[in-house]
Amino acid sequence: MTNEVVTVQHLVKTYGKGNEKKFTALKDIDFTVENGEFVGIMGASGSGKTTLLNILSTLDKPTSGEVRINQQDLTQLKGNQMADFRGHEIGFIFQDFNLLENLTAAENIALPLSLQGVAPKQIQPLVMKIAKRLSIESVLDHYPTELSGGQKQRVAAARALVHQPTILFGDEPTGALDSNSARELLETMSSLNRNDQVSILLVTHDPFSASYCQRILFIKDGEIGSELRRGERDRAAFYQEILDNLGTFTE
């Protein structure tokens, strides 16, 4: 039980307040992510993936149900607690990088630590450490406009991980990358997962990205339809199975 970093039970999210038109984006979602797991979430456009991620990261509130991250019930958090929770427990990577263009790579990576009130003296070594891990030491002094897409996403990953969050969320992080950069990023993520025990929840359309996961949840019309486990198989075999599953799933 204590090994679960994410627990979601009977999660419902309905958009539209009061007299507005109601739309239920998530209907009764149940799942868990164990510590050190690399879980993928797949689903068609509009199936509720981003909605789910927003709720897990306290950017949005569930209509009903229970969401726990690291044993903390998110529905009990208020105001500043939600921001602090995001700052401490969660790392984010997005499709469009979302780096702050007026800060250098190093300054972007340092920001979460500054926000948490880490002493300036301790920040520098932590930034260097994560930059080495992601092989971006050479571009630390560059501004985002001076980086390639792949480099930008690594910087974003470094920023998401520098404060050692409980879990790393990715919303289509490879969406804007060419296939080589995408592969590099996925290799890095899976290595972080294997060697540094980082728990990862990855939302993606792309079967190739999904094949790096250990387990995949398929979401359809706001419900979890099916689940695939990679087990001991190699990635190629898993990739094939995902493709097959997508075929039946979308029918």
Binding site: T63, R86, G87, N98, P120
Partner: protein, 616 residues
């Protein structure tokens, strides 16, 4: 259909539109008010101590300044409108709306918005002109004559000026929207590039900026030495100095702060500093301009109030005595009883033909007060000192009377000394006085505690004396009260101009800054959203916005205040003490400036701070 869409998106941004629209209304109202004064010769001629021609020149100069700043103001307001709309219009184009149609729409929108604001502004301007004039008259005890709040020429000039500017703005907007590629409209967030300035060049500029400012300030302090040359010299050096100061000195300071990691790596500071660093580059010219305009506006208000201050001191020096009673009646005595009298003295006199006699013992018992004028050393204005003669000063002699006696003849005279029918004065002993034939008349000199407060009552006394004893009209027309009335009329035009120009400049320059800052807000939305996702508390984001905008407001304000403090040196020529009571205009000014700051922060926060969804 498209029209409906465009309109519905206006509704979604209603708050920003209201601000934009009311800003334009204020601009038009201000412009009208100023023109109602500048083009109204009647008002100018009667209300200024300068001749009508000179005043006309000053007002035209003011009008040109106002037109220039209004022009810049409209540019900034228009760019705010454009940034606010371009994404939506870009979207319509993506959806297949014809470029020509979009161009038409934005043209109509800009034009209608502008003309609507102008007309409403003019109506408000007419009303405000009336209210402001009345307020000034009441508050400051001023007299404004021939003040027309509705004035056709002003109305037409304002309408034409704004019409032309808005036609240009509308053409510019539709041109800009039609010529910009759709994708660029959709992703118009600016990308700040690395700003590469060599540190040495930066240091040179920073030093140059400070040196130029120092030279300009020196010139203003030493206006006695440089004479009129000081003004153009100071103008050039201070404008350039302000520019370099913003372009280098502040950037250098920001870099220093950023480099100091133990300072910058705390909380969100590094982000705030970077935002500022990026902004200041973009704002250099604007901030320099604002610091100058700020100084002009604050200077105008300070000098305006300085004139008011001088006025009361000048009035005090018109006469050592506040009221002189030449005659008595029940009505006069009743009014005099109401005065808050500090001191009064009564002197007897007898008139025989062209001769007038006064009693030495009375003057020795109650010597007269008088004003002593020092020989002025420099070029600055000075006030005389109030002094009192001594009893021994009143000596009877056969030669020409001494100063004290001559002064007594003047102050106790009953005919104007300027006319040919002046009487010849004589000082005599009490015994001699008693022996003189004729009726003994009495003259009472009164000093009140507060002339300004007693002014209305004194007016009644003077009027009553004129009706009761018209033979004293010559001296009564030259009384302290009569002179005060004239002086007030002369100074009130200057005060009004100073206040009006100062306040309207402030409103315009602060709105320029506001719209410039708000135009940048839309490209900041993503950054604040990102910070929110990274777990920055809303309060931290709000504080960052307040600090960033605070610095952008404070820097030109601070520099402007320094400009004014030195610039007031120039007014030593015209004012007794230009620095007297300057806290009041500074306070008024900072309050208004602060109001604009608050409004900007509020609107900016409304645009960039992500709303946290709260479910009940």
């Amino acid at each position: 259909m498209l029209r409906k869409l465009a309109f519905s998106s206006i509704k979604s941004r209603l708050k920003d539109y209201v601000v934009l629209f009311s800003g334009l209304v204020v601009a038009a109202a201000t412009f009208y008010m100023f023109m109602a004064l500048a083009t109204n010769q009647d008002f100018l001629g009667k209300n200024s101590m300068l001749s009508a021609n000179n005043t006309m020149f000053i007002f035209i100069f003011g009008a040109i300044l106002l037109a220039i700043i209004t022009f810049f103001y409209l540019i900034y307001a228009n760019s705010f409108l454009l940034t606010m709309r371009q994404r939506e219009y870009g979207m319509f184009m993506m959806l297949g709306a014809k470029t020509g149609k979009i161009g038409q729409l934005i043209f109509m929108e800009t034009f209608l918005l502008g003309m609507g604001a102008t007309l409403i502004g003019e109506v408000i301007g007419i009303g405000l002109t009336q209210v402001v004039a009345r307020l000034l008259v009441q508050q400051m005890g001023l007299t404004l004559q021939h003040f027309n709040s509705f004035y056709w020429p002003a109305f037409l000039i304002t309408l034409a000026f704004f019409l032309v500017l808005f036609i240009f703005a509308a053409i510019w907007n539709s041109h800009k929207l039609m010529k910009t590629p759709v994708l660029k409209l959709l992703h118009s967030a600016e990308q700040p590039a690395r700003t590469q300035v060599k540190p040495i060049w930066l240091a040179v500029q920073a030093l140059l900026g400070v040196a130029l400012l120092a030279a300009g300030y020196w010139a203003m302090i030493n206006i006695a030495l440089l004479q009129l040359l000081a003004i153009p010299f100071a103008l050039v050096t201070i404008v350039l100095g302000s520019f370099f100061t913003f372009n280098a000195t502040f950037i250098w300071l920001l870099r220093l702060m950023k480099k100091h990691r133990s300072f910058s790596l705390r909380g969100i500071r590094n982000f705030t500093l970077s935002q500022l660093n990026f902004r200041i580059h973009d704002y250099t010219r604007m901030l320099a301009m604002i610091s100058i305009l700020f100084a002009l506006a604050l200077g105008a208000i300070t000098v305006g109030l300085g004139f008011r201050n001088d006025l009361s001191m000048l009035i005090d020096s018109f006469d050592a005595y506040d009221v002189k009673l030449y005659t008595h009646s029940a009505k006069i005595d009743a009014e005099v009883a109401k005065l808050d009298i500090k001191e009064q003295a009564t002197y007897s006199y007898k008139v025989k033909g062209k001769q007038i006699y006064y009693r030495q013992d009375q003057l020795q018992d109650q010597p007269l007060y008088y004003f002593h004028y020092q020989r002025s050393g420099g070029i600055s204005m000075q006030m005389p000192q109030r002094r009192r003669f001594a009893a021994k000063d009143y000596q009877i002699s056969r030669e020409t009377p001494n100063g004290a006696v001559q002064n007594a003849y003047n102050q106790l005279g009953i005919k104007s000394i300027y006319d040919g029918n002046a009487l010849t004065g004589h000082l005599v002993t009490a015994a001699e006085f008693a022996r003189l034939p004729g009726k003994t008349s009495r003259l009472t000199l009164i000093r009140v505690r507060d002339f300004a407060a007693a002014r209305q009552k004194i007016a009644k006394i003077e009027q009553a004396q004129l009706t009761a004893a018209p033979e004293f009209s010559e001296v009564l027309e030259n009384s302290k009260y009569a002179n005060a009335q004239m002086g007030t009329a002369m100074y009130s035009g200057m005060i009004f101009m100073g206040l009006f120009l100062g306040l309207s400049f402030l409103a315009m320059l602060a709105s320029c800054l506001m719209f410039k800052i708000l135009s940048g807000a839309y490209s900041d939305v993503k950054r604040y959203d990102m910070l929110n996702k990274m777990g920055a508390r809303t309060s931290v984001l709000k504080a960052s916005v307040a600090k960033e905008i605070g610095v952008l407001y404070a820097l030109p304000g601070l520099l402007g205040i320094i400009h004014v403090l030195f610039g007031l040196q120039l007014f030593k020529l015209l004012l007794l003490n230009p620095y007297h009571g300057i806290w009041l205009p500074f306070l008024i000014f900072l309050l208004l400036y602060g109001l604009y700051y608050w409004l900007t922060v509020t609107l900016y926060r409304g645009i960039v701070i992500p709303k946290v969804e709260i479910d009940k």
